[in-house]
Amino acid sequence: MSFLFDSFEGWKAIIEEKKVSLFQPVIEYEINEKGSEEQSILLGLEKALDVMFDAVDSGLTEDMVSRSGMINNGAKKVYNHGVSVLGENFQKVIARALAAKEVNSCMGRVVAAPTAGASGIIPGVLYTLKDIHSIEKKTLVEALLVSAGIGLIIDNKASLAGAVGGCQAETGSAAAMASGAIVYCLGGDFLQVSNAVGITIQCMLGLVCDPVAGLVEVPCVVRNASAAAIAFSSAQIAMAGVDAVIPVDECIEAMGEIGQSMEERYKETALGGLAATKTGKALSKKILISDIQILGEEEVLPEKPSNKAC
């Protein structure tokens, strides 16, 4: 049986025992669990990477206005603005994460990584990393494998769904996956990758899911940008050998614990947080369809015909 990605501790043990690179057990997991072949796994990830980078490019070149109007070509404005608050690369990573996520909000093609709501983070981060450090495609694919391994552990120990764990589970997990990928691409070892993931989670803990009008637009799009920034800040800290103090597995468990005790109104129901503000409610009223025929108590639809299984 292959390693099942239930903890970083286990991941560490297996790469030390087998003396393999971080991404190797991820490939083995997929081969064992899904019966896939190594070649098709790598091809699939190359394709995913292409779709990610295409999303960044189209978000920065094509018209991106969502049906609700809440998303309106923000990425391009950021990319082209004359003032760089923290240097050009910072401006670019923010614009690229926004770009890919705007494509998602505007019915374009993206990779859910790990979810649709967080689909701008890994693309924005990897695009920028490749741009600055000229990372080869092969390394980027390996980094995606590392990200997938991180995602699997979070999935097992906590959750990746906003409806289960709040936004920390979506944008927080994507940021953690991206941060680990950065450290891997820059030659960091297992400890540095784990610290990057742990530190990222420490920064994202507690974030609630409160999408205005229930649409994956506000605050989702800007959270993709901030999550990308946090992925870089955590990678910078971890690369320098600064310790996360709380081990990464325990950070993830904390995320699971917080997610469990979060009230329902902060879990994609659009009943709390920003969605429940005065403006959030007004927007919801304006955007959502109000011309609905509401069935009364007696007016139930006919029962479905009965089934006889055999």
């Binding site: 099942l4 991820v26 997991y29 997929e30 669990e33 899904k34 896939s36 796994i41 699939g44 990830l45 995913a48 779709v51 049906r67 609700s68 998602n104 505007c106 019915m107 374009g108 093609r109 993206v110 990779v111 859910a112 990584a113 790990p114 649709a116 709501g117 689909s119 995606l144 494998l145 990200s147 997938a148 391994g149 995602g151 699997l152 999935d155 990746l160 996956m177 009008a213 229930g214 649409l215 994956v216 955007i287 959502l288 369809i289 011309d291 609905i292 025929q293 509401i294 069935l295 009364g296 139930v300 639809l301 029962e303 479905k304 015909p305 009965s306 089934n307 006889k308 299984a309 055999c310």
Partner: protein, 227 residues
């Protein structure tokens, strides 16, 4: 136990935004309706009703475009989904949308599709269960309950003794493994609808053979809906 996630659940799927339950799932329901209606038959008009949670959000999430995209037989990652309203008009399909709330017997994310054209009409009710997974709850008032991710065979037949045994026998001869099989009927000795989900497809000649048996009123075969 739930199936373990794979790496393409972490880095994937490749999809059209904004959300898999409002886009991919709805496209797949539309595609099933198109296949049931007839892959090569031209649709003239379609009435689409969004229920419950879908009723309020279908426009903001683009599910109106998604359902038409499915009826145009687009796949879930087709970049044209975004333009499906215009593309449907270009294909001379006339469409209307309706929103109905509080339909408590339906799943929160339910859509009903009524398709007409060429003197044929079909009604399909589909549920989007999340992550792009769907359940076709009924077709033409028969309870159906299939996911369309296997190979699906739908046979409408007069309600006679021995039909079920006959069908399963033929499929066994074709070495075809049945994953699920269900029968729903309007009344005793009336029409019955058999829905069979299979792990693999069956040859054309076998379908033609079943079609010519006199209890068989209609046979529809839907291969894996994502291909």
């Amino acid at each position: 136990m739930a199936k373990r996630s794979g790496i393409f659940d972490m880095i994937g799927p490749v999809m059209i935004g904004p959300s898999s339950s409002h886009t991919a799932g709805v496209v797949r329901i539309g595609r099933v309706a198109k296949r049931i209606f007839g892959k090569h038959l031209a649709i003239e008009s379609v009435q689409i009703t969004f229920y419950n949670s879908f009723a309020r959000t279908y426009e903001g999430h683009g599910s109106d475009r998604a359902i038409l995209a499915g009826l145009l037989d687009f796949k879930t990652d087709d970049a044209r989904i975004k333009n499906a309203l215009d593309l449907a008009t270009q294909e001379s399909i006339s469409y209307t949308f309706k929103a109905v709330g509080n339909a408590s017997i339906y799943h929160p994310n339910t859509v009903k599709v009524e398709v007409q054209g060429n003197g044929r009409s079909v009604e399909v009710i589909g549920e989007s269960l999340g992550g792009g997974v769907i359940n076709i709850a009924s077709l033409d008032d028969f309870k159906a309950d299939f996911s369309a991710s296997n190979h699906t065979l739908i046979i409408k037949a007069t309600d006679e003794r021995g039909v079920i045994a006959f069908i399963s026998n033929i499929l066994a001869q074709e070495n075809c493994n049945i994953a699920t099989m269900s029968v729903s009927r309007k009344g005793k000795n009336d029409l019955a609808c058999h829905v069979i989900e299979m792990d693999s497809g069956i040859p054309q000649i076998t379908m033609d053979y079943i079609r010519h048996i006199n209890w068989c009123k209609e046979l529809i075969y839907i291969p894996d809906i994502d291909f």
